[in-house]
C-alpha cells in the first residue's frame, strides 16, 4: 500500500487502484441502496390502507420518483459493472489495472457528483421531482418541482457510466494476459464487454434527452411542445432508445456473475460457453431494437407496434438460451449448495418469473390490458430486484472471501437468501394480480377491492426487509469477525483466485500465463488454508 504521509482520504478517494475504486463504488451503491429500500418501504406502508394515511399525494409522487431515480440511475446501473467490474475484471484478465486508471478515478468522482446532485434536487428548489423516473414531457417541462437539477444529476451519472464502459472495452481488448484468448475470457468479462458497448452506444442518447429537458425548462425551446412544432412522442422515443438498452446494462452483468458462479459450484465446465457469449452479444444487439415496446399505447402506428412487439419476442430467445445453459451445466454436476449458488438459483427463478411476464407486456394485445398497471411494476421488480439485485448479492457472497480474506456465516447467508426469495414473491406476485385486476401504477390511493392484495404485498416488503437486514448483518459482522480463509475457498479456476485475499496493490507479482479456460477445474489445487 502506498504510504509516506498520505492521509487516509487521499489514499482512498484519489486512488488509482481499480480494487479500491471498486470498493468505493460498492460502499456508495450499498448506502444508496439502503436509502432506496427505505423509501420503498414507506411507499408500501402508505399503500397498506386505501386513502391518505401519513403522506400526501405530492409527497407520494416525489417518493416514487426519488425511489426510481436512486434505484435505477445510482444503484442498479452501476451496481455490478462499476463495483465488481472494477474489482475483478483486471484480476480476471491478469492485468495490473484498467486501461485508464485516472479516467477510472474520474468516473468514480462523476458518479459521486451525479449522485449528490440527484440528492440535492430533493431538498432544494421547488421540492423533490414528481415526474416518475422517466421524466416524461410535457409534465417534466412544466412542473415547478426541481426536475432540472435531478436530470442534471442523471446526465453526470450517464457520463460516468460511459467512461466506465469505455475503460472496460479498452481494458479487455488491450490488457489480457498472455494466453488469455477471447475464448478463454471468463463469462463475467464477456458480459461486462457486452454491457460496456451498450453503455457506450446507448447512454449518449439519454444524455442529449436530459439536456433537452433542461434547455426546454430553462429556455422554453418547445422541441417537445406541439403548439410550437414539437412532438412529445419523440421524447418517449429518445428516452427509451437509451432506457430500454439500459435494462440490459442492468441485467447482463448479473447474468455474467451467474455464469461464473454456477460452474464453480457444480465442478463442471459451463455448458455452451460460446452460446452464452453469443447470447450476451445478441441481447446487447437485439435489446437496442425494442425500445418502443414501452409505447404501445402512446399512439404509434399499428405497424410500429407489430414490429416492436415481434422484435421484443426475439430478445427473449438469447435470455432463455442462457437459462437453459445454466440448467444444463448443473445437470449431473457435483453440486455444492453454498450461498453464492443459492443466490444464483434465486436469480434464475425470479428472473424467469420476471422474464416470462415480460412477454405478456411485449405482446401488444395483452399489453393494452395491463399497460401502466401494477403488472408492469411487478414485472420490472422481479427482473431488476430478483435479477440484478440477486446477481449483486450472489456476486457479494461469491467474492466476499476474496475482498476481505474472511468467510461469512454460511447458514445465515442461506437463511437470508431463502427469506429474500419468499419476501420478494410476497412483495411482487400480488402486483401481477393487482395489475390484471386493473390497479394503475403510481396511484397513492386505490379502490377498496384492492386492499387485501396491497396488504399482502406490504407484508412481503417486511419479509424482504428482514432478509436484507439479516444478509447485511451477516456480511458486516463477518467483515470483522469472519473466519479467515486462504486464496481459493471455492476452488475456482479463474485468475483472481490465484492471488492472496485480499489481493495486493500490484495484483500479480509476475504476469500470469494462461494455459486453459476459466472453467477447467482439473488443475485447481486445494489451497484453502494455504
Amino acid at each position: 500500500m502506498a504510504s509516506g504521509g498520505k492521509s487516509w482520504v487521499r489514499e482512498w478517494l484519489f486512488t488509482l487502484d481499480h480494487k479500491r475504486i471498486g470498493m468505493l463504488y460498492l460502499w456508495c451503491i450499498t448506502a444508496f441502496f439502503v436509502i432506496g429500500v427505505c423509501i420503498g418501504m414507506v411507499i408500501r406502508m402508505e399503500l397498506f390502507w386505501p386513502g391518505k394515511d401519513f403522506i400526501g399525494q405530492q409527497a407520494y409522487n416525489a417518493l416514487f420518483t426519488v425511489h426510481g431515480v436512486i434505484m435505477i440511475f445510482i444503484v442498479v446501473i452501476p451496481s455490478i459493472p462499476a463495483a465488481f467490474g472494477n474489482l475483478f475484471l483486471p484480476l480476471q484478465l491478469g492485468a495490473e489495472d484498467v486501461a485508464f486508471p485516472r479516467l477510472n478515478t474520474f468516473s468514480f468522482w462523476l458518479y459521486v457528483i451525479g449522485g449528490a446532485t440527484a440528492l440535492i434536487s430533493l431538498f432544494t428548489g421547488g421540492g423533490a421531482p414528481d415526474t416518475g423516473w422517466t421524466f416524461y414531457v410535457p409534465f417534466s417541462a412544466v412542473t415547478t418541482t426541481n426536475v432540472s437539477v435531478a436530470v442534471a444529476g442523471v446526465f453526470i451519472l450517464g457520463f460516468s457510466s460511459i467512461l466506465t464502459g469505455l475503460n472496460f472495452i479498452v481494458t479487455i481488448h488491450r490488457l489480457r494476459a498472455p494466453g488469455l484468448t477471447w475464448t478463454r475470457l471468463t463469462l463475467f468479462a464477456w458480459a461486462l464487454y457486452a454491457t460496456a458497448w451498450i453503455q457506450v452506444l446507448a447512454t449518449p442518447i439519454l444524455s442529449i434527452t436530459v439536456v433537452l429537458i433542461i434547455v426546454e425548462r430553462l429556455l422554453g425551446l418547445g422541441i417537445f411542445d406541439p403548439a410550437r412544432g414539437g412532438d412529445p412522442i419523440l421524447y418517449q422515443h429518445l428516452f427509451w432508445i437509451y432506457s430500454h438498452p439500459a435494462v440490459y446494462i442492468m441485467i447482463l452483468p448479473a447474468m455474467g456473475v451467474i455464469s461464473d458462479i454456477i460452474p464453480v459450484f457444480c465442478r463442471k465446465s459451463i455448458f455452451g460457453y460460446k452460446t452464452i457469449v453469443g447470447s450476451s452479444l445478441a441481447i446487447a444487439f437485439a435489446g437496442s431494437l425494442v425500445w418502443a415496446h414501452h409505447m404501445f399505447v402512446s399512439g404509434m402506428s399499428d405497424t410500429a407496434v407489430m414490429v416492436f412487439s415481434f422484435l421484443t419476442f426475439i430478445v427473449a430467445v438469447p435470455s432463455a438460451v442462457k437459462v437453459f445453459n445454466w440448467l444444463s451445466t448443473m445437470y449431473k454436476g457435483s453440486i455444492r449448495l453454498e450461498p453464492p449458488l443459492i443466490y444464483a438459483l434465486g436469480f434464475i427463478f425470479l428472473f424467469a418469473m420476471g422474464g416470462i411476464t415480460g412477454l405478456v407486456l411485449g405482446s401488444a394485445g395483452t399489453d393494452m390490458h395491463v399497460h401502466d398497471t401494477y403488472f408492469v411494476v411487478g414485472h420490472f421488480h422481479y427482473v431488476i430486484f430478483g435479477g440484478t439485485g440477486f446477481g449483486m448479492f450472489a456476486a457479494i457472497h461469491y467474492w466476499f472471501p476474496k475482498m476481505y480474506g474472511r468467510m461469512y456465516n454460511r447458514k445465515q447467508a442461506i437463511t437470508a437468501a431463502l427469506i429474500l426469495v419468499v419476501g420478494l414473491n410476497g412483495l411482487y406476485f400480488p402486483m401481477y394480480l393487482l395489475g390484471l385486476e386493473g390497479m394503475p401504477r403510481r396511484y397513492y390511493d386505490y379502490l377498496p377491492q384492492f386492499t387485501s392484495l396491497h396488504r399482502l404485498s406490504t407484508y412481503g416488503s417486511w419479509i424482504t426487509f428482514a432478509g436484507l437486514a439479516l444478509m447485511f448483518y451477516n456480511l458486516i459482522h463477518s467483515r470483522y469477525r469472519g473466519e479467515p480463509v486462504g486464496r481459493n475457498p471455492w476452488k475456482a479456476a479463474t485468475l483472481e483466485w490465484t492471488l492472496p485475499s485480499p489481493p495486493p496493490t500490484h495484483n500479480f507479482d509476475t504476469e500470469p500465463v494462461v494455459t486453459h479456460g476459466p472453467y477447467d477445474f482439473s488443475e485447481v489445487r486445494d489451497d484453502d488454508h494455504a
Binding site: D17, F100, L166, L212, L219, R228, G230, I241
Partner: protein, 198 residues
C-alpha cells in the same frame, strides 16, 4: 503504481469516446430529420433567414483550423515542439474567429426577436419555431464543443510545456486533434442542414 503507456489503447479509447459524441449529436439529428419531414416548407422558409455568407465563412474558418490541428500533430511527430505549438496557436485563433462570427449571427437574430419565446418567433408557424428551436440547440451545443475543444488544446499546451507530451509520446495531442476534427465534422453536417436547405 507505474503508468503504462499504451498508444493503441489510448487511441482506441478516444475513438470510442468520439463515437459517443456522434451519438449525442445523433439524437438531435434524429429530431431534426423527423421535424424536417413534418414541416418541409417551413424549414425551407426559415432557412432563408440565415446568413449563408457568414455560415460559409465559418465553415472555411473551421476546416482551416482543422488543417492546422493536423499540422500541429505532424509537427510534434517530427520532433519540432515550437512548430507544433505555432500551429496549435493558429487553431485556437481560428476557433476564436468561429465563435465571434457565431456570436454576431446569434445576437443579430436575438435582437430581431427570433429566439425561442421571442416576440417575433412566437407569432410564426409552428414549423418555423421548431426550426429555430433546433437551430439554437444544435449550433449552441456545437459551440459548446468548440469551447471544450479549445480547452483541450490549452491543456495539451501545458503538457507540452511540462514535457509530458513529447515527440515520443504525442498521443495527447493526437487525441486532441481527433476531437477537433469531430467538432469540425459535426459542423460540416450542420452547415448544409441549416444554411443550404432552401
Amino acid at each position: 503504481m507505474t503508468m503504462h503507456r499504451d498508444y493503441q489503447g489510448a487511441k482506441m479509447g478516444m475513438w470510442i469516446f468520439l463515437f459517443t459524441e456522434i451519438l449525442l449529436f445523433g439524437g438531435l439529428f434524429v429530431l431534426y430529420s423527423v421535424t424536417l419531414g413534418r414541416y418541409p416548407t417551413e424549414f425551407h422558409e426559415a432557412s432563408k433567414l440565415l446568413d449563408v455568407t457568414l455560415g460559409t465563412t465559418n465553415t472555411v474558418v473551421l476546416i482551416t483550423s482543422s488543417l492546422f490541428a493536423a499540422l500541429s500533430v505532424v509537427g510534434l511527430q517530427r520532433g519540432d515542439r515550437k512548430l507544433a505549438q505555432g500551429f496549435m496557436a493558429a487553431t485556437l485563433v481560428l476557433a476564436c474567429c468561429f465563435l465571434v462570427i457565431k456570436y454576431f449571427e446569434w445576437s443579430h437574430k436575438i435582437h430581431a426577436g427570433i429566439y425561442p419565446g421571442g416576440e417575433t418567433l412566437i407569432q410564426w408557424a409552428p414549423g418555423k419555431q421548431a426550426f429555430f428551436a433546433l437551430y439554437y440547440t444544435m449550433t449552441g451545443l456545437h459551440g459548446l464543443h468548440v469551447i471544450i475543444g479549445m480547452g483541450v488544446f490549452l491543456w495539451v499546451w501545458t503538457r507540452i510545456v511540462a514535457g509530458t507530451c513529447t515527440p515520443e509520446h504525442f498521443v495527447a495531442l493526437e487525441n486532441a486533434g481527433l476531437y477537433w476534427h469531430l467538432v469540425d465534422l459535426i459542423w460540416i453536417y450542420l452547415f448544409p442542414l441549416y444554411y443550404l436547405i432552401t
